[in-house]
Symmetry: C2
Subunit: 389 residues, 2 copies
Amino acid sequence: MSTMQSNTENTSKDTPTPATKPNKGGLEGIVAATTAISKVEGTAGRLIYRGYNIHDLARHTTFEEIMYLLWFDKLPNQTELTQLHSKLAAQRTVPTPVMEIIRLLPKDTDPMDVLRTAVSAWGALSTSGTPTQDQAIALTASLPPLLAAFQRLRNGKEPLESRPELGHAANYLYLLTGEEPKEEHVQGLNSYLVLLADHGMNASTFTGRVIASTGSDITSSVTGAIGALKGPLHGGAPSKVLDMLHAIAKAESPEVWLLDAITHGGRIMGFGHRVYKTTDPRAEELREMARVADPKAFKLSREVETTAIRLLEEEKPGRKLYTNVEFYSAALLSFVGLPGDLFTPTFAISRVSGWTAHILEQVNNNRLIRPEADYTGPDQAKFVPLNER
Amino acid sequence: MSTMQSNTENTSKDTPTPATKPNKGGLEGIVAATTAISKVEGTAGRLIYRGYNIHDLARHTTFEEIMYLLWFDKLPNQTELTQLHSKLAAQRTVPTPVMEIIRLLPKDTDPMDVLRTAVSAWGALSTSGTPTQDQAIALTASLPPLLAAFQRLRNGKEPLESRPELGHAANYLYLLTGEEPKEEHVQGLNSYLVLLADHGMNASTFTGRVIASTGSDITSSVTGAIGALKGPLHGGAPSKVLDMLHAIAKAESPEVWLLDAITHGGRIMGFGHRVYKTTDPRAEELREMARVADPKAFKLSREVETTAIRLLEEEKPGRKLYTNVEFYSAALLSFVGLPGDLFTPTFAISRVSGWTAHILEQVNNNRLIRPEADYTGPDQAKFVPLNER
């Protein structure tokens, strides 16, 4: 800065309170909030929702049971589950102005941008004030119809009405295709929605909590969280795993392709996580589903997985880069019939249950989340008016 | 949780790395990022943008000079300023689908919800990829036309075309009213826009940086920031200052009204700040402008200010509750002719310059912002299938 110099008029003797400075940046290792919703144990590769192990939940529950668990802090009995289903089914509509807004967006719009805009418009019409459980239900119910409407419209088809007798996963597949969803697809998608529903203080959940901490509304929080999930360092990259697998299928061998990528600084998709230092437990569940769903595609995925882990350990010893949730998500969502650019929006359809649970938890015991910054610019610059610059 | 009990199958010996736990919550005193954009010294009541004292800037610069300073790290010379003006003027349009979207929103929609939705739609059509300075310019230019269009439409008037010869503040006033803006209004609004442009790691700026840290786009970041600014604990309360002043004007005296509010736990609007422990330097500038703009209204505001500070010190000694930026913002924006529900959106019209500067800074030296949570729920709950619950 050319004009910087001492300026006694502006001299300040203010000494700010010394602030704790994280060593690694990115708030790694810093506790931003307390939560009773989920716990990620990175070294053990363990994930629990309100105490329940993710493996039990992935194999034995529906996504609706998980919503109930996250919002109401217990697994529902049959009566409670039926009541929740009724409330969700009643909210599976797209308000007319929101449908018009979706129609106005060009067909080549990024579906995450569509979802962000449609959710924001939905909330402008539907919600205000302090977030409530009923708002969490309504918002979670609304995402599949909003996204499926765009998917239909960009393919030249009219959006469909939801079918109240179908569960959340089955209705989403029906809204996309207009066909009776296959049971194996419903089960696969349901397990995916269960596995991705919550994951500690991840970046999109944290975004939602920061926004909620200002006293803002549930839609503002979820709109922000959708924007964060879009980022490729968070939720925005699963379709790139598929692209990578297609490229590897054409190569001489997985080993040759992966070694070339590692040697020349190319990105290997679907490996490594800020918290997990072993295989992501969600990836273990998705791997088993992918094995059953499509044995041929699985063979390649599995070979890429084992080869990549071995090569990464040889090339970057100690980094502990293992398969993350994105790796087998791509295989599963592809099996279910989703196009690649709906993978991340479908992640949002699951995670909105966790986002809203965290928003309700934040609001229930709130303090504004407002960190500090370490200022590295000049302290005193001498002001020069425009006509003297 | 009724079903909680020991479950050896799920036992984990994982011990997470001990994390630093802030004493006060809300990340108070925790450094989330380094920045060279602005510095807030709470004890001295000092604010600088890239080294320049806020008092010099408020009195001697246009908002366009501040945009340049925040984005390009220097105050512009006349040539640079003219170039920036041309770029801004070229982007002061509302794309047709976005205008249609604004028309679809009901007239009683919260203007912050309109802004959040319109900006999201604008970005869905206009931006993608890694944030750039040109995107920051385009987005900052677009906010006044988007908001003014809604203000016109909800009052039964057609939106207007921007006038390229007008500066940012003057064009905004013109778009709202259709009249030649008064010089005193332009100057007042310009100073407001300068004063509110950036403020360290406040909650909306932090939201924007968290979203940007995932590799997401500039619109996703700004949409999230708008949602955070909406919260009454951040930017969403200045019109409530006006409501309070109107109520006090009808009371026996400011002292009686304020004492009653303090004694009975009522909220006194416009006092106290997480960082400032003395009068906010922006409030000092706004106070002087309010004094000149409307001497009669100022007399009441000033009496409320001095009385409230005295009473708050008597009732809550040591809390150091002083006038914050909201207190005189209300007076100034009211003088300029804005309705109360456009105060916070107008705050966004200023702060988007700082948000985008921070987004560019984050992207330039990025690490995913992903804190941890302190899990307080049960560690092991025994899973019981639905038909046994």
